[in-house]
Amino acid sequence: MAPSDCGGQALKRRFGAGVDNLSRNVDRINQLNVFPVPDGDTGINLYHTVRRAYREIERCDSDDVSVIAGRFAYGALMGARGNSGTILSQLLKGFADGLGEASTISAERLAVACNAAVAQSYTAVSAPTEGTILTVAREAAEDLQRGDRGSESLRKMLERLVATARASLANTPDLLPILREADVVDAGGMGLLCFLEGMQNGTSRTQVTSFQPTASLPAPAVHAESYGYDVQFLMIGADLDIDEARRELEQIGWSVIVASAGDTIKVHIHARNPAIPLDFAIKSGAALDDVVVENMELQVQQRQSEGLALADRGDTEPSGVSVVAVVEGEGLRAVYQSLRCSAIVPGGGGHNPAAEDIVAAINETPSERVIVLPNDSNIALAARQAADLVAGKQASVVATENVLQGIGAMLAFGDALDAEADFDATATKMRAAADDIRSVEITRASRSTSFGGLQINQNDFIALVDGTIRAASPDLDDVAVEALAALQTSGAELATIYYGAGVSARETDQLIRRLTKSIGGLEFEAVYGGQPLYPFLISVE
C-alpha cells in the first residue's frame, strides 16, 4: 500500500463519517423541496438509504476496500428509498464495481471507481435529468479524470471531488428551470455533497450511531408452480457480456437471475426446454460448469404423491401472477385487497418505502411472477430496484403514478386473471388501464410559491390534475370544484372520490352535492380512503 492509499477500515470510517454528515443535514435537504407538495423529502430518503448501507459494514473487520464498498453498496441497494436514494445506491454499486478486486484505494483507482459509479447511476434512470444528483456526481467524477490528476494524493483528490461537487450543485438551478423558479438547489445533489463532505473530513470518526439489527428478509416462497425446468449453470470465459447474457436469457425463460464474478457468470433460469439456455451459453463461447437441471413439474408431483401438503397458497391466483402495491390509508388498502392485491407496502405521499420493503412484499406473495404498483413517481425507481433485487421470482413494475391509477390497474388485473392472461399481457393490460384514469389529488401546499400563474400560499389547498397543479385556494371544496372543471370532464361518466383521514363521509357528500350542481353529466361515488395528507383523491373515468 502506498502511504496515501486507503484500506478497508479507513474506507469504513470515511463512509461512516459521510453517513453521519448526511444525517445531520436531513432537515436542510428536506427544505429544498421543489414542489409545494409533501413528497419531496429527499433528506429522509437519503438518510434511510445510507443508514441501511452502514448497517452492512458496521461489524465488518475486513481491511479490503472491495469488501467494504461491496457490502455498503448492497446495503444501499436494499435500503434505497425515493429517487435520490435509489440513484445514490446505484452510485455506490458502480463505485464498488469500479474498485473491482482492489484491496486498497489509490488516487488513480478512486477516479476509475467514481466514473464507474456515474455510469451505473445513469443507467438506473430511464430519462436522466440534468441539474440533479446525477449531474453533481458526473461533473465531480469527470474532473478527477482530467489531465495530470493521477499524480495527486488521495487526500487532494477527495478535496477536489468535494469542491467540484459543490460548484456543480450551485449550478443546478441553471440546468433545471424548476429549481430556479423555486430558488433552490437540487435536494438530491445536496445530499450527495453532504455525504462526500463527511467522507472528506471525517477520517477520525470511528463509528456512527449503532442500529438495532432487524429481521432478515423472508426466504423466497416455495416454488410450487409446476411448469418447466429449473436450470442453473456457470458460464466461464474471458469475454462474456453479462448484459447481453441477461437480455438473451430473459427471452428464453423466466425467473432469470444472472450474476457475475470475474470471468464467471452464474445463471439461474426457469425454462420450458432446458436445452435452450444451455445451447445459448455454449454458442456465446462460454465453457459450462456446475450444470443443474431440475424438473419442477416432477418435483411438485412427487410432493403431491408423497402426500405432503404444498406450501399454503390460499390466495394463489390461477395464472400465478400476484400484485404488490404501495398504498397508504386503511380504506384504500381495503379497496386494493378487495381487488385481489396480494401484498401492500405502506407508503406514498412523502413516505417512501425502501427497496427492501418492496422485496419483502414480493417474497410474501404466493406467486413466482409479481407485478409491482409503486403508485408514486418517487417510488418507481425503488420499485424497479426491488424487482431487480428479488431472487427466485420474476417481478415487473407497472409505473403507476398515484393510487388512483393503481386502482384502474387492479381492475384490469382482475380481468386478466379471469382471462388467464400471461404475465406480460397482464402487465400490459394494467398499464393501459392505469393510463385511462384521470386523477385529481388534493393536498396542502407545504410552502408558498407560484406555479403556472397560480399564486400559492403555504397551507393552501392545491389540486394536482393529472400530476400538474391546476387550482389553489384556502377552501377545500373550491379547489375540488375548480380542479374538476379544469379536467374537461366531457366524455367522462364517473368520478370516484376517496376521502382521506380527517374528512368525514358527510363532508364528502356535501362536496358531491356541490359538484353535481356545477358539473353536469358526471356520476359521483364516495369511498373511504383514509389516506393521510390528501383530503380528497378523485379518479375520473
Binding site: A334, V335, S338, L339, R340, I407, L411, G414, D415, L417, D418, A419, E493, L494, T496, E523, E525, V527, E541
Partner: protein, 285 residues
C-alpha cells in the same frame, strides 16, 4: 297434431317464447318464485315477468326461487308419455346452480328412467333455449336419440352467453355465486361482465361505468360472428336491450329475439341487466 316418437322437454329457465314452444311441440315445466308466503309457478300465466321485475327493488325480502317438486316432475313426464311420446329428452338448468335436475331425475324414476334422457344444459336462459330449439327441430324431423344428443352438445359448444349487470346487490344477496362476487371486489361500484359457461357464472370483466360495460358486451357479441341465432336478454330494461340490438346492426340475424329473462334467474341478477345469447353458425359443421 302428430307427435314424434321423441319429445323435447325443458324448464322455464330456458326462456323460449310461447310461440316457439307451441310451434315445436316442446313441453316446459315451470320453476317457482317464492314471494312472501306465496310460491308462484313461472308458467307464463301466473306471473307477469315485467311486473315482477318492476316490483323487485321494492320487495321487503328478496324473492327466492325453487325447483319443481319430484311430484311435479313425475306428473309432467307422465302427461307427455300419455300423449304418445316414446322417449323424452329433458334439458335443464345446470345442476351446479339448481335442484331442478335432481327433481326431474326423481320424477323420471317414477315413470321409468329408460324413457327419459336428462341433459344438463350447463347454460342459462337462451343458452338453454338454443339447445332446446335445435333438439325440437330435429325431433320434429324424426331424428334418432343419438343425433339429437349430438346436436345438443354441438349447440352448447357454439353458444356464448354474456351479461352485464347493473348492480351487485342481487348477486350478493342471492348467495349462489359467492366466488363470482368475491372475484369482483366489494368496495367499489362495478358493472360486472359475466359469462355463463359449463354450468357456472364467471366474471370476465369489470367496468366502472355502464357505457363501458355495454361496449365490452358489444365486442364480445361481435366476436361470435357468423351468428346463426341471437337473443338479446334483459331484466326490466327493454330500452337498453333495444338500443343494444340497434348497436349490433346488420350482424344480428333477422329473427333475433328480445327476451325478458325468467324471474327465477332475474331475481338473482337484478333489474337493469342486459345480456346476449349467441349461437355461432359453425355448430352445424
Amino acid at each position: 297434431m302428430t307427435s314424434s316418437h321423441i319429445r323435447i322437454a325443458a324448464d322455464s329457465v330456458c326462456d323460449l317464447p310461447a310461440e316457439l314452444v307451441d310451434l315445436l311441440n316442446i313441453n316446459i315445466i315451470p320453476t317457482y318464485v317464492n314471494i312472501g308466503g306465496e310460491s308462484i309457478p313461472d308458467d307464463g300465466a301466473s306471473l307477469d315477468r315485467s311486473r315482477f321485475f318492476r316490483d323487485l327493488p321494492a320487495m321487503s325480502s328478496l324473492p327466492t326461487t325453487a325447483a319443481p317438486s319430484p311430484g311435479d316432475a313425475e306428473a309432467f313426464y307422465r302427461a307427455i308419455l300419455d300423449d304418445g311420446a316414446e322417449r323424452i329428452v329433458s334439458i335443464h338448468v345446470p345442476e351446479k346452480l339448481s335442484g331442478t335436475l335432481n327433481a326431474m331425475r326423481l320424477g323420471a324414476r317414477s315413470v321409468g328412467e329408460a324413457r327419459v334422457t336428462l341433459v344438463d344444459s350447463l347454460q342459462l336462459t337462451f343458452g338453454i333455449g338454443f339447445q332446446v330449439w335445435a333438439a325440437a327441430e330435429l325431433a320434429a324431423q324424426g331424428a334418432a336419440l343419438e343425433t339429437i344428443l349430438d346436436a345438443i352438445e354441438r349447440v352448447r359448444l357454439h353458444t356464448r352467453v354474456y351479461a352485464i349487470i347493473d348492480t351487485m346487490e342481487y348477486l350478493r344477496r342471492s348467495g349462489r355465486v359467492n366466488t363470482l362476487v368475491a372475484s369482483l371486489g366489494g368496495l367499489l361500484k362495478i358493472k360486472p361482465i359475466v359469462r355463463v359457461n359449463e354450468g357456472e357464472v364467471t366474471s370476465i370483466g369489470r367496468a366502472r361505468t355502464w357505457s363501458r360495460a355495454v361496449r365490452r358486451l358489444r365486442e364480445l357479441t361481435l366476436e361470435q360472428t357468423p351468428i346463426e341465432r341471437l337473443a338479446i336478454l334483459h331484466i326490466a330494461n327493454r330500452p337498453g336491450a333495444a338500443s343494444f340490438l340497434e348497436d349490433i346492426g346488420d350482424l344480428a340475424p333477422s329473427d333475433t329475439l328480445v327476451i325478458e329473462t325468467s324471474p327465477t334467474l332475474g331475481a338473482h341478477i337484478g333489474p337493469g341487466a342486459i345480456g346476449v345469447a349467441t349461437l355461432n353458425a359453425e355448430w352445424r359443421h
